[in-house]
Symmetry: C2
Subunit: 228 residues, 2 copies
DNA sequence: GTCTATAAACAGATAGAC
DNA sequence: GTCTATCTGTTTATAGAC
């Protein structure tokens, strides 16, 4: 494989960067998976190199060291979120009715539940992200600024419109966090939830049940008896 | 300090074991704090010994090795939960009104929020617990059987009574998990929440705001407009 | 029971051939 | 760019004095 280390500056900050390829990309994907699964400290550079189909020295070559690979993984998470959700969400139209905002919140909720509980990135990205949030506060800056804060602000705007409250009020911000916390818990506590429910992992039927529960709470919190 | 390794069998399984003391107890407390803060793999035996005010060899002497200390920490978490919540919760009276069940749920919710967000064990125990749940599934067994399952069953009984649903139904079990997930998130995502809210940690006013939010969701989910 | 000294394995980083 | 071999520091576990 043949890739040079990337330039430090992005000439067009609005555009979504392309997915990393080659040895560099393989190492990042291995890092995302192994760091998320067993943790940063518990993952050796030899394991990373083997999982990526390369040698230990390439980690230092591409990222300067194990810490550099970690940072690259954080940036890759930010990039994937940008790629899925779009770089700059459109501002809310002034005349958006409350019911429409409610419906969009329900739609985004469903999408998040399916992403987090279904097969795919949802298994490794949240585990990695959570370990970063629990651990080094330095890397949290990247996660916060590029992944969390913009999306949270979007959801607050919708929640405010749907509930008739000020979207910048502490009450709305907390409500959105509580709502997101519910969803995240079903991924983070998956081992516990599936055991207690007698489930063998999250299949389509199980995901539907979780979706129904979270939408019910959303509708209740927004003071509406029925889904829009 | 002078303590022998404890006997393997507990002669009275109903009683709550006493808190570990001496060097053994100091090592467990150090493990709980450091494992929770930086993770198991990232914490060295030298750090543990220093934090406990003893030497590295005592870890092998008391627990057989670093893994043994980890296991002892898991059991200490289970013990603390038993000590605070009581070993065997009383079964729900048959004639408990829905409003009383709702009130008790609200009371337990407030207690959990204050425990998790306030100063004290709430800072280290959940972090430790979460890392265990994310990692080794072997230790999850102890946590699940002795900490999570009994408490979850209690809450399901209350939720069923308060909402008029079957407490053993999947819907109630999921509702309780979603409710707990909200609460846990404010501890796990504390770094994110406080930053977004512009808070400097969780003080009394901040805890009250979170409490209010979670009780509001609880009341809405139980289809009641106002707190009991 | 506590502690020092040490052993054996492993970590991440790097030099240098290709 | 890739890879092997190696350097240097640190890890856990243990032997043995007290």
């Amino acid at each position: 494989m043949s890739d040079a280390p990337p330039p430090d500056a992005d000439p067009d900050p609005g555009a979504v960067p392309p997915a990393p390829t080659g040895t560099r990309g393989a190492l990042i994907r291995a890092g995302l998976r192994l760091f998320g699964k067993t943790g940063f400290a518990a993952t050796s550079t030899r394991e990373l190199a083997e999982a990526a189909g390369t040698n230990v020295a390439s980690i230092a070559y591409h990222f300067g060291g194990k810490d550099g690979l970690r940072r690259a993984c954080v940036e890759e998470v930010a990039r994937r979120f940008q790629a899925v959700l779009g770089p700059d969400p459109a501002p809310l139209p002034d005349d958006l009715p409350a019911a429409a905002a409610h419906a969009r919140l329900a739609f985004l909720t469903t999408a998040m539940v399916r992403f987090l509980l279904g097969r795919g990135d949802g298994e490794e990205v949240p585990a990695f992200l959570l370990r970063e949030v629990l651990g080094e506060p330095v890397l949290l800056d990247i996660v916060y600024d590029r992944v969390i804060a913009p999306r949270h602000a979007d959801l607050c705007a919708l929640w405010g419109r749907a509930s008739g409250q000020d979207p910048d009020s502490p009450a709305v911000r907390l409500a959105v966090f509580a709502h997101l916390g519910q969803i995240l818990y079903f991924r983070l506590g998956a081992a516990i939830v599936t055991r207690r429910m007698g489930w063998d992992g999250y299949g389509p039927a199980e995901i539907a049940a979780v979706e129904a529960r979270i939408l019910a709470t959303l509708n209740a919190a927004l003071s509406r008896g029925d889904p829009p």
